[in-house]
């Protein structure tokens, strides 16, 4: 008997006492309250800051300036940009840093030699201070936001949802076109040495969230 058949047989034998049919257990429904109001945005800012990420609230016209400022403050001399990043944001990057296209940084070593990355996001979660990337063209493949040390992430106010169930409801993978997801709540951190929090063991040590309102 193959391992597959044997395990499935063992599991079926182990559950012969079960009389319900699959899917019959009722579970808490998702809340699904959608995008948040002003209070929710304030909560989002507070919870993101709680993780010692930096948050900047800007209007639609302020994004480019904020990107430039964030990269300059953190001394980023080279910045990788995803293929689908808003062109005016790419121009903003070019003002302070050497722009590296996603397609030009094919190797891990290329990315390792790059200081920062600028991306959009898929959504934000107010209660937990989480941003989620689904790695579409404006966010780039997963390695882009992982290897460079500074990540500037632009989140639109209408992308912020109240809580985890709202996010889960929005992020359900499409059959046949499931996107990978990265949930980020603050910069990389560890408490492994005597429980003292240290930032930036492996992922980016600087996370800047630009919240675009209006």
């Amino acid at each position: 008997m193959s391992a597959r058949e044997e395990i499935l047989r063992r599991v079926r034998d182990a559950t012969t006492d079960v009389t319900t049919s699959a899917g019959a257990t009722p579970r808490e429904p998702l809340t699904g309250s959608g995008a948040v109001g002003a209070d929710g945005l304030t909560q989002f800012v507070e919870t993101v800051e709680d993780y010692r990420a930096d948050v900047v609230r800007v209007g639609p016209d302020g994004v480019a300036v904020a990107i430039t400022a964030a990269l300059r403050e953190r001394g980023c001399g080279s910045v990788v940009v995803p293929e689908g990043l808003e062109p005016t944001w790419v121009d903003a990057v070019a003002e302070v840093a050497e722009v590296r296209r996603e397609s030009q940084t094919r190797t891990h070593a290329d990315l390792d030699a790059t200081d920062g990355v600028v991306t959009a996001a898929a959504l934000g979660i107010a209660v937990t201070g989480t941003i989620v990337l689904d790695h579409r063209a404006d966010q780039g493949r997963r390695a882009l936001t992982l290897v460079p040390d500074t990540h500037v992430c632009v989140v639109r106010a209408d992308q912020v949802v109240q809580d985890v169930p709202d996010a889960v409801a929005r992020l359900r993978p499409d059959a046949g076109d499931a996107r990978p997801l990265t949930w980020i709540s603050g910069p990389s951190a560890t408490s492994d040495i005597e429980l003292q929090r240290v930032e930036g063991v492996h992922g980016p040590r600087n996370l800047v969230v630009l919240l675009v309102e209006g």
Binding site: A3, E6, I7, R10, V11, R12, D13, A14, T15, D17, V18, T20, A22, G23, T25, R27, E28, L30, T47, D50, Y51, H108, A109, V127, T128, G129, T130, H135, R141, R142, A143, L146, V164, P165, V168, A169, R172, P173, A175, G176, A178, R179, P180, L181, T182, W183, I184, S185, S188, A189, T190, S191, D192, I193, E194, L195, V198, V201, H202, G203
Partner: protein, 488 residues
Amino acid sequence: MSTQARGGPVQQTSSTFIGMPAFPEAAREALDNTQQRKNLRHATHTIRDKRAAVVDELPEWEALRVAGADAKDEALTHLADYLEQLEESLVAQGATVHWARDAVEANRIALEIARAKEVDEVVKVKSMATQEIELNEALEEAGVHAWETDLAELIVQLGHDRPSHILVPAIHRNRNEIREIFLREMAKVGRPAPDDLTQDPARLAEAARLHLREKFLRARVGISGANFAIADTGTLVVVESEGNGRMCLTLPETLISVVGIEKVLPTWDDLAPMMQLLPRSSTGERMNPYTTMWTGAHDGDGPQDVHVILLDNGRSHVLADTVGREALRCIRCSACLNVCPVYERTGGHAYGSVYPGPIGAVLNPQLRGTSSAVDQSLPYASSLCGACFDACPVRINIPELLVELRGRVTEEGHAAESAAMKAAAWVLSDPKRLAGAQRASSLVGRVVGDRTIRSLPGLGAWTSARDVPTPPTESFRQWWARERGDDR
């Protein structure tokens, strides 16, 4: 109750852990270690206070616990259906699915994949399933180095040590010990620690970052576990803090994930309670810094050769126990460890397994059976105060399960002891028989050499209590047949 009677083989894992001293003895050693006790107390209290604070933020916490328990129960009671669905979803998204009955089989599959890629090293993200099957050791034996990349695991690995806590595995080490381990060991296996390394945690973390990055960037095969495996979408989920998980899950060309069959969640929507329950219970955060979710292989992003090994290794055996099966709901958050007065004083090593603390006291005897001394002693490693049940995000009634297990151990223990006594009495009552037993030479004797055996499988508590001579070289049965003919 015998294993056979409950239908299904128990866990197969090497004797490394099982050969450890039983809980009371190991606990006594741990109690002598004041540093460890101090660290543990600090750790458990810090995490538990943080946890209490973030749990209080959610008025619907009790409803979430029920939802979490329901989701796991739904998956467990119809596990075969959901496993088949999971496999189908994974394959549809381009993953290769393997099934492993036990540790040996899982390790062999992982090794074959690594061999096919012609690599002599892999990077790993902390995973209890791979610790349970001792995958690192199996790979190492075959000449493939497995690099642990979580900071704590790195400390443990470089220190030639074993993890002592699900969540903070190196909690038994202080910063000065860590500095010494880094200075002494890093150079032997890669980028050395800087000469001017101090005991400042930030400097220690920086040394680890540089040491490990070299390995991440060149690694071609990554190995992980999974916190959840979602049947209806085929999505695997890894929850972590440092980003080493993301490195292992996205940089290599090939990814191997070892997933216990109890990790299945029926639907995508079941993630909603889990993603609230797990981080809050585990590290006392509203959300852990990083979570990676992937569904098979993603074109142009991350590993293109994605393997999932579905592991039984005793889980179906636990599932067959209608009372004990709820232990399989465990999402390994470690909240029960942090509130346990017994664990706080003894530390994780005393449990003789990768699963320490209250849940370990339940799970290990269930997974391995109660034939070894350590597994017989574990159900007693509790004060039954009930704190673990209150802390558990999926409402596992640990105290109740421990009482149930105590009952079983007592029944079995007596039977085993009297059988052992009878066999021993028969041998010892006749000097000629004893001489014959000692003179003979057998496979068992060769394997264990001259060392005195402190614990024999099947004889359990009785032999562990006193040293017995190394057994004769032929099996007892062969010897019996030779000495006594077939007059049985």
